[in-house]
């Protein structure tokens, strides 16, 4: 049943992602792609939307997917229920663990073994973010397909051009103007570049 699936998957995401923010992206990606809740392109759109809307990315994602999947299953009431269940599931581990830490276990977090485990997990988390970034990057810019042992790479001209412009914008902002890079600004600028480039490239033809 979809509601149990939503609960179980988002509980897992909430439980196994330490550090919040982008650390949650690899697990969310895995869950939504495995269950066919979103295509990879839709997943990227949703991260973009999550960046420009308020609140933690994981909650944005949970609510959206819960609403969509619940709606497919049971109409408007299912939408509401699905959104509620997925959102509840993704925050439940954080809530329980923080409550325990507030009440009794504040010392546990300073324990040598806990700190050691966290340090190991942090290194893995960075690697998982990089891996997710690389595979998504390749899918957007130069999709690699493997069939019968043959590896072929295609090349998406417009996205590559847009990506280079975004990288240039970020470089100028952080290195030349010495400003901090705000994700929301990157998303808004990317949207504008996307619109402008597409109309410019189409018009001459």
């Amino acid at each position: 049943m979809i509601f149990l699936e939503l609960f179980f998957e988002f509980f897992k995401i909430g439980l196994f992602t330490i550090g919040g923010g982008y650390a949650m992206i690899p697990l969310i990606k895995e869950a939504v792609l495995n269950h066919n809740w979103l295509s990879e392109a839709e997943f990227l759109d949703m991260i973009g939307i999550s960046e420009v809307t308020p609140g933690p990315i994981a909650i944005n994602m949970a609510t959206y997917i819960g609403v969509e999947q619940g709606g497919l299953f049971m109409g408007p009431f299912g939408s509401f229920l699905g959104g509620l269940i997925a959102t509840f599931a993704v925050i439940l581990p954080a809530f329980i663990i923080m409550l325990l830490i507030s009440i009794i276990l504040k010392r546990v977090i300073k324990n040598r073994f806990v700190q050691g485990a966290l340090k190991g997990i942090r290194a893995v988390a960075v690697a998982l973010i990089l891996s997710a970034g690389i595979t998504l990057l390749s899918d957007v810019l130069f999709p690699i397909s493997i069939a019968n042992g043959n590896i072929s790479v295609s090349f998406n001209k417009t996205p590559v051009f847009i990506f280079l412009l975004i990288a240039f914008f970020s470089f100028v902002l952080t290195k030349v103007m010495k400003k901090k890079l705000q994700p929301i600004l990157v998303i808004v600028v990317s949207a504008v570049i996307g619109i402008v480039i597409n109309y410019l490239l189409i018009l001459p033809a």
């Binding site: 330490i18 973009g48 609140g55 050691g116 966290l118 942090r122 998982l128 891996s131 997710a132 990506f163």
Partner: protein, 166 residues
């Protein structure tokens, strides 16, 4: 998000001082789940017990929930416009740029930590290869293995080294 949290909780409400916020952020970053939820639960409990923690957490969730609910209902209509599709072509590129950039920024934090760097390189290569070749191996296993390696190398072995130095 942290700048906003600082403005509201430290500057305006005076619920915390800078040092407490720093300590709580460190705790929130070492516990599972979104950091804003960790902070809300913790602070809510500190101020008003378990009822406080429930309300503070709900307070963080409700605006996000309401907005994403609306987005989910409206998005497919918006997507019919050509300009919106083009905007999202740009947004996709922006998002992958942000993810890769975040990874590199975080990777800099591993500097000087040889075990961490080795774990980082091996996991990055394995996970990328698994994704490329569609091998089914959950990222959760990497996280669990990372925790185990952390306990062995940072807690157990370092301790032994400390004893032999005495």
């Amino acid at each position: 998000m942290l700048t906003l949290i600082h403005d509201e909780l430290v500057t305006k409400k005076n619920w915390l001082n800078d040092e407490e916020l720093l300590e709580m952020t460190a705790i929130a970053e070492s516990t599972p789940g979104p950091i804003a939820i960790n902070l809300a639960t913790y602070l809510g409990y500190k101020k008003r017990g378990w009822l406080g923690s429930i309300f503070a957490t709900l307070g963080v969730v409700i605006p996000t929930f309401a907005i994403m609910f609306a987005v989910a209902l409206l998005l497919s209509n918006l997507m019919q416009f050509e300009a919106v599709q083009y905007a999202f072509m740009g947004i996709k590129c922006g998002v992958v740029f942000l993810i890769v950039r975040t990874a590199f920024v975080l990777a800099k934090g591993l500097k000087g930590d040889i075990v961490g760097i080795i774990v980082f390189i091996i996991v990055a290569i394995l996970m990328t290869a698994f994704t490329l070749f569609a091998v089914n191996f959950s990222a959760i296993y990497f996280i669990l293995i990372g925790g185990l390696i952390g306990i062995i190398f940072y807690a157990l072995l370092r301790n032994k080294k400390g004893e032999s130095n005495k």
